[in-house]
């Protein structure tokens, strides 16, 4: 029996830049191929400048590959226009940034619900607030719903960002250095949380990190070196 179709498949993905002053071509990613099944978790590690964030951005549709193919649920993302990609980001991908990027003007609950505003799907909108409250409760922020990001600790902000990434029930959760700005204790807690969410919500998780302890907790670990995935 053949394997089930992967949630995410990268085939020969490359990314190149050329200098404006004609100084030659810079290859950031080269022939990256990767399959991830539903509910799988993976860490991408590598030295600074190795292209980890670029790869994550390509997977997260924030960037397009110079060549190669990215399939999400067997759908070729390179065939989609910007608006369709935005919809993919909104409904099928959750993104956790290193610098949480919460909207400072909104409360915790509102921040979580912001992605819901981008969709017109009534079914998603209807249950969104209850889901947000449940998830925030789940990450220990049930009592901080009306707090603003400025009133939260770094770890708490990161947890709000995690919940925001999950609010539209994505299939793929991408985290770019999620613990990079946290102290050790907070980083540990967040690592636990990510693993739990991966397990309990059944979401495929890709984490780009420098932190070995976080990488080790993922089922698969890839190292990006000189633009190649090993």
């Amino acid at each position: 029996m053949p394997d089930a179709l992967p949630v995410l498949r990268l085939t020969n993905v490359s990314k190149r830049y050329s200098s404006t002053d004609g100084g030659g071509e810079l290859v950031v990613l080269q022939g990256i191929s990767l399959d991830l099944q539903g509910g799988e978790s993976a860490a991408i590690v590598g030295p600074s400048g190795s292209g980890k964030s670029t790869l994550l951005n390509i997977i997260g549709t924030l960037d397009r590959p110079s060549s190669g193919q990215v399939l999400l649920d067997n759908e070729d993302l390179s065939r989609l226009d910007d608006n369709q990609l935005a919809a993919v980001r909104n409904r099928r991908i959750g993104f956790i940034f290193q610098g949480h990027h919460l909207l400072p003007q909104c409360t915790v609950l509102e921040n979580v619900l912001v992605p819901v505003l981008a969709t017109k799907d009534a079914s998603l909108r209807n249950g969104a607030e209850a889901r947000a409250r449940r998830l925030l409760d789940r990450v220990g922020l049930g009592a901080r719903l009306t707090h603003r990001p400025g009133q939260l600790s770094g770890g708490e902000r990161q947890r709000v960002a995690d919940v925001r990434a999950l609010i539209n029930q994505p299939k793929l959760l991408l985290a770019d250095e999620p613990t990079g700005a946290l102290d050790r204790a907070s980083a540990e807690k967040l690592s636990d949380l990510l693993v739990e969410l991966n397990r309990e919500e059944g979401v495929t998780l890709i984490v780009v990190t420098h932190a070995p302890h976080l990488a080790r907790r993922m089922k698969r670990v890839f190292e990006l070196r000189d633009g190649k995935l090993e």
Binding site: R16, Y17, S18, S19, T20, D21, G22, E25, L26, S53, N57, G60, L62, D63, S66, D82, N83, A86, A87, V88, R89, N90, R91, I93, F95, F97, G99, H101, L102, L103, P104, Q105, C106, L109, E110, L113, V114, P115, V116, L117, A118, T119, E129, R164, N168
Partner: protein, 1223 residues
Amino acid sequence: MTTWTLILRSLRFHVRSHLGALLGAAVGSAVLVGALVVGDSVRGSLRERALERLAGADVSINSGDRFFDSSLLERTWQSVNPASNAGQSGQISPELIWGGLDGKFGWVGLMLPATAARQDGEARANRINLIGVSTNFFPSRIAIEPGSVWLNASLASQLHAKVGDALVLRTHKPSALSRDAVITPRDDQSVALRLKVAGIAPDAPGNFSMVGGQMLPLNAFMGLEQLGTAAGIVGRANLLTVGGAYTTRPGSFFDRVILWLTSPRLTGLPRSRFRDAVFRSSLAIAVPASSAQQLTNLEQHLKFTWSMRDAELTTRTLRLDASEKSGEPMHLLVELNTSRIFLEAPVVAAALGKEKNGTGDQTGSPGKLTPLTTAVSTVSSEPLVPLGPRANVSTNGIGVLTYLVNLIRAGERAAPYSMVTATGAPWVPADMTDDEILVNEWLAEDLKVRVGDRVELSYYLADSGSQLIERTNSFRVRGVVPLKGLHADRTLMPEFPGIAKAESTHDWDAGFKLTHKIRDQDETYWKQHRGTPKAFITLAAGQKMWSNRFGNLTAIRWLVPTNTSPESLRASIESNTRANLDPEDVGLKLEPVRERALAAANQGQDFGQLFLGFSFFLIGAALILMAMLFQFGVEQRASEIGTLLALGFQPSQVRRLLLAEGVVLSALGAVLGVAGGIAYAKGMLWGLSTIWRNAVGASPLRYHAEPMTLVIGAVAGTAVAALVIWYGLRKQVRQPARVLLAGGEVQGEMIESSRSPASEESLRGSSFAAIGRAGRAGLLSIAVALGLISFAFATSQTSNAGLFFGAGALLLMGGLAFASRFLRRLLRHASVVPSLGDLALRNAARRRKRSLAVIALLACGSFLITSIGAFRLDSDKDALKRSSGTGGFRYIGESSLPVVVNLNTKSGREEFGLDEKDLTGVNFVQMRVRDGDDASCLNLNRAQRPRLLGVEPAELQRLTAFSFAGFAKGFERSQSWGLLAESHLDGAIPAIGDAASIQWALGKKLGDTLDYTDKRGREFKVRIVGAVANSILQGNLIISEDAFKERFPSESGYRMFLIDAPSNDTFAPGLTRAMQDVGFELTPATARLAALNAVQNTYLNTFQVLGGLGLLLGSAGLGVVVLRNVLERRSELAVLLAVGFRRRAVQRMVVTEHGALLLIGLGVGVAAALVAVLPALISPRGEFPLVSLALTLGGVLASGAVWTWIAAALAMRGKLIEALRSE
């Protein structure tokens, strides 16, 4: 959580960064709202002034030189008052409810032109209105005592008069006959009244005027009776104004509810009965009647109420006793005559029962509609008796035309100054031909003539005025009639003023010098027989000789049939005449003055639009500043926008979110702008009342704001600001989320390799080409500009504003092209060891488009506000050339009272005691004046019926005076003033006006027509066939003198004069002094033109001031650019600090960098503008406002420098070095 929650949260969170944008929106809206409110205020003030000047009138009769009986008002009130037995209200629709006679219904007055002077001679005023008013004129019912006068504030101010001061007012006694007629007295025309000032009338009704215009009238008020007595027309009036009527409409349910809620106690009824009364009975609500309703209603009443006396018509019974010797029976006659001497055509037609056609057949012979019986009935002559349908009842009336003949000659013998009557049978044989004459026995004896002899009649043409054109006609004596019976009738001579009441021929004031010797027998004849005609001719013969524009009959006579009493015949004649005449035929024309005045005010110069135009730059600057600040705020939120994009928002969704924030800010700004706008409007009104007073004339402006204007202004302000924000946001949110999340700016060093090297090359190639194009375009622009300037100097066209403006605009374009090239070169320039100054300049070139935008904004702004001065009008330019705005005339003269002589003739000059020698080289172009609305730029109202000037077209054509700006389609340029003499198939009278008057004051274009009403109430059209450019004729329409006289036969004399004179002005004081009794005023033509030009020049000043404010605001935008540039480059600046530069040096570099942009922008703009305004700069009068412009531009420079410095200081505040660490 909704989208609105997010928007409101963002607005609240970013309130500080939004504050600048909010203020920008508020300023933009304030200026917009303010401009509209200025429009409201001007319109409101004009409306106020319009209503103030009408003193409560809705409808009025202004009969000018026709005088009706002052009881007409009371008779009309009797008619409209349902309580009166004489009321006609049952027969008239619509029914209206009029006020009482206590002033609520109306008032009558007698208005005469006059001059006024202090008795001590310290001050005088010409062209004043001396108005005799009934006590109900003043709301406080002031009774003006005999010997006293009330003045309005403007006249009091001009005369420096206060209560108790003594004044001399001089007016003309109204003449029964036009002063243009030959037989009208020259002496005793004016009357001087010594009066004491009893009070200063309040503005309403003190500023009463029947003429729409900006200038406040100069009014003096006397008691109606006193003025009538002094002017010799006691009991007469020429003004009747009525207003304030109500009509009713059925009450609606809403009306009943309101009444039930508000008024139960007023009636004293028990509540239940009151409720029944309100809801179950019929209810009528009184609402003010429109002018049209009042006009219709009054016109119907007037038909019943006007009398023969109101038309200056009289009937009388004449009993011509038969001579005992002849055995002839006594002749019983009824005569219709007029104190105006000549019966006008409509009156003749009405009395004889003919179709009235105005200028048609006036022979007095029976017309086609005339029934041939003497229709006599016992119709009452009571004026208020209802008249039936227009009667075709005719009579066997006989036309009579009696005229003064200078000389009746037969061979060597001649009889001077005799009356000759032209009439029909029985005075002359029915078969008498037009070349035959009956002479009475006295004349036959005097001239020794018999039947068959020829006699010659020499006479002056009746309307040849002071020109005294004499004609002679020859007749064959048909018979000699005895001096008795019908032929001994001294009443055949009308009451010629100056003659009729003279006891002796030596006492005659015939209006001309009696050059023929009056013999003793002539004197004896006068004493015995007075004006008994010495000869009789046929009516047709008489009308051929003496027909004139005033009328063709002096009387109509009816022989009373034997079976009729003279009284009943008189009554019948009067009744028939009234039934056949419209009141307007005899000058009783009701005009909807209120409606017309309000239309003039409402359609007047739209200052709202004008100030929107003036404030355009200011609004633009405020909105650009707002957009820059808003965008700046948005750019600071790169991470937030990136987050939204990363979370799946589409760029358009993010833009909509930001736009929604912008719209809310715009709306808030607009709300603030309403308050600011009111303040701005008040500021502008202050300006218009002080420094820009010339733009609005003399009327004070009061603040008015319609709530709807504020709403419209706020909505428009919001919309415009939102539009600007939307435009600015179009290019936002284009950067990818990853870039925005990474810190905002695309670094620009790397581009994706998907672009091929070939496209790279082409990009570079096109860039180089663009540099080349800019340079070439700049060079070409400058070359053409220099060519234009050289051409102007080579061809002596140094006053050609258009040429220089074009050159300036080209220089501006060239300058900007070179600025662009300069910035490109800076970027490519590389020195091995750059100084901070080098770095500053190179930085200025880094954001080339942004820098160029700043330069262009400053250059265009400074060019615009400076160069607009090129369009200033210079009244002295070529002032002595015929083609100039003065027409080459040195003076323009205006008199209060008409001048009926030709001032170019010796006799005309002698009339005023002018010495021929003093007037050597002085020539007058005399113009008749029909008063009307001032259609010059000095009147902000839309002129409805502008003043008409009647001029001899050949005279202006001969002088080739004034330049024509254009002609209506189908009219030949070559004919110029000759177009006025043409007649048109559609009967419209050709007119020429000033181009500015036609376009702005009248809202018309060439070929359009205007409706006028002539003296007989007939509507006629005036077609604008030509327009002269920027001239002293502004405010008037000029028609030919012939057309003028035909339409306004009783407007006598000339009241406006264009005067050619030698360069020395020695004649001017003498001329003014000699003609002071007619209120003659001389104004240098250049001064008049300057006063008219002042309006346009003041508009330009206003634009320059508001444009300067805009530029000042725009210079604050430079600060925003600095702030943006510096914040974007904080890390770069930090590096400079890190490597040892001092903070002050770095700040200086930033200021230098942006100061260069400021200097380049202003420099390019001002240099180009100086070329554009070169004609104004080298004009001899040099009215160019150099100081205010220098201050404005200096202010912009200083403001730009200050904003730059502040922005640089703000941006470099704090620990700049930390910017490095965060990198």
